[in-house]
């Protein structure tokens, strides 16, 4: 085929995606960055002007930002580490085939397709402090004396939303790790078994190194994704009680829906995006590119 016609085909094929992504994602992102240097309030649209770094100064001097940053760290570290460890264990348990494994996978992996917001609502009923079934079970087995207010007690709230996120996120890790495990050649594992290597040694010295690329890229993507995931918190606490579960992404949405201060919301958004880009760069630099399956 003539090169010019080939080039034209390429152009026509990628153009729709490039056009819609530029118009609806890239352009708004640039607008958002510009907005973060402006005064842009919904109720005062006639008075939009540049204010330099004022918005950033206002946010960086507000203690709410640092509390939310800390909550974000807790939210990510708690959720991702537990999702990872438990998802890994589930994948190992499902590695060796058993009768009905396909059906089992369907029954335990489904949370992955659900709406995070709806899941938040489901669990806030389970965790309800007055009529919740979890409290009922804990009381029946005399594990607690009084019902726990999982979502309205600041001491418990963050751990409760993390638990929900763990329930939600285990399948994702299990799916990815199980697929990677199935690519580990069984001959290698069997050879080590014959040589008398213990189960722990087989796991840490053969299996984990073999699937390391999947583990690393899954972790990278998951951290980004969990940081951008206000849905569960919005379905349960909306950041409360008293800001105990307000992560940066929840903060931003609260600004949009309650304060109408668009430039402030955009500023928080730009800060989140900058943190994510910095994180991705550092992560890719410290783990060599060949190990990342991107």
């Amino acid at each position: 085929m003539k090169p010019r016609r080939t080039a034209r085909f390429f152009l026509y094929a990628v153009l729709p995606v490039i056009a819609i992504v530029s118009f609806l994602v890239v352009y708004p992102t640039i607008r958002g960055v510009i907005m973060s240097f402006q005064n842009y309030n919904l109720y005062n649209l006639r008075n939009v002007h540049f204010v330099g770094l004022e918005n950033y100064k206002a946010i960086f001097t507000d203690s709410r930002f640092y509390e939310d940053l800390w909550n974000t760290v807790l939210w990510i570290a708690g959720s991702v580490s537990l999702q990872f460890v438990l998802g890994f264990i589930l994948a190992l348990l499902m590695w060796k085939p058993f009768k009905g494994r396909g059906i089992y996978a369907g029954l335990v992996f489904y949370p992955w397709a659900l709406s995070g917001f709806a899941i938040g609502l489901v669990w806030s009923w389970l965790m309800n402090g007055t009529f919740g079934v979890i409290n009922d079970i804990l009381l029946r087995f005399h594990i607690v004396k009084y019902p726990i207010h999982f979502l309205s007690d600041p001491k418990w709230a963050m751990w409760s939303v993390i638990l929900i996120n763990v329930w939600y996120g285990i399948p994702f890790f299990a799916i990815m790790i199980l697929a990677a495990l199935q690519s580990v050649p069984s001959s290698v594992v069997e050879a080590a078994m014959i040589d008398g290597a213990s189960a722990a040694r087989r796991l840490f010295q053969i299996v984990i190194p073999y699937i390391k690329p999947t583990l690393l890229s899954t972790l990278l993507l998951r951290v980004i994704w969990v940081m951008n995931f206000p849905d569960i918190i919005y379905g349960t606490t909306r950041g409360g009680p008293a800001g105990a579960t307000e992560t940066l992404s929840v903060y931003m949405i609260n600004i949009v829906f309650y304060e109408n201060d668009y430039s402030k919301a955009a500023t928080v958004g730009v800060i989140i995006l900058s943190i994510l880009i910095a994180y991705a760069i550092i992560y890719m630099k410290t783990t060599s590119y060949e190990e990342l399956e991107l």
């Binding site: 990628v14 352009y27 089992y104 335990v108 397709a113 009529f131 919301a265 991107l294």
Partner: protein, 275 residues
């Protein structure tokens, strides 16, 4: 002996996890068919003594849940279809051509993954309000297909790259043009993959709440998540009623997932992430 113990523990743990995974959904269904009295009893009454579907009836009569359901179906269906069509074309080009544009485009599509929907929804809101397109389903469809098409392209590209190019070349030698070989040879082969791309973006659009609740305000435009949100904002929560809404809201994605799980998993794990 030791082997037997290990396998017993394994099945025990698998069983425990099964209960953990299924319990919330079973519980919300049980709540939805209880009478109001039984929903609010403590100690909890585990099984409804007289199962009733009155919550579901109320959902579709008093609240216009049928309407919200149709809106969600339209929004998710149209945007998934649009982004799958665009993604299969672009995915094909990015998988089959080797020129200096491929890498920057793929990189751009990856970068877009990092930008979450709610970060850009304010500028989008301003844009659409200037065009007079607020409170319209079509605006939400456009935004979902814009955000969805980036990841769909990455996924489609992974599936297409796995189809041997020789098949196309053979068809082209037999006198088929590129477009003809694309539709006659490549797309039929990659159809399971493309159905996974479609399901994935359908699920994502069905579940989205923040853009929808910012853009859609009038009652007859609401999607299912926005409606659920409005049920809790209005004077306290009626949990029996909300549970029925949740069951209806969660069902479609569970069904889609049941059908497409195998291919989605394949698409996410093999090649989709590879450059």
């Amino acid at each position: 002996m030791r082997r037997k113990w290990i396998s017993l523990i394994r099945y025990l743990l698998l069983g425990v996890y099964l209960v953990f995974a299924l319990f919330p959904l079973v519980w919300i269904f049980l709540t939805s068919i209880k009478s109001p009295m039984e929903v609010y009893s403590f100690p909890v009454k585990y099984l409804p003594s007289k199962p009733t579907f009155q919550n579901y009836q109320k959902l579709f009569s008093y609240a216009h849940f049928g309407k919200y359901f149709k809106n969600s179906l339209a929004v998710a269906g149209v945007s998934a279809l649009a982004s799958t069509i665009m993604a299969s074309l672009a995915g094909y080009a990015l998988a089959r051509f080797k020129n200096r544009w491929v890498f920057p485009i793929v990189l751009l599509l990856f970068f877009v993954q990092m930008i979450p929907a709610y970060l850009i929804m304010i500028p989008q809101y301003v844009m659409f309000s200037k065009l007079g397109m607020l409170d319209k389903l079509i605006s939400v469809m456009l935004i979902y297909s814009g955000i969805g098409s980036a990841f769909s392209t990455i996924m489609a590209r992974g599936f297409i790259a796995r189809i041997p190019i020789e098949l196309e070349e053979a068809a082209m030698i037999d006198g088929c043009t590129r477009l003809c070989s694309l539709f006659r040879v490549t797309f039929p082969l990659v159809l399971p993959g493309l159905s996974a791309v479609f399901s994935f973006s359908f699920v994502n659009s069905w579940n989205e709440i923040f853009v929808a609740s910012l853009f859609l305000n009038s009652d007859d435009k609401m999607t299912v998540p926005v409606a659920l949100y409005s049920f809790i904002s209005k004077a306290g929560v009626n949990w029996g009623f909300l549970s029925a809404g949740l069951v209806i809201a969660l069902l479609p994605t569970i069904i889609v997932f049941a059908f497409a799980q195998r291919y989605i998993v394949e698409g996410l794990t093999k090649g989709a992430m590879k450059y």
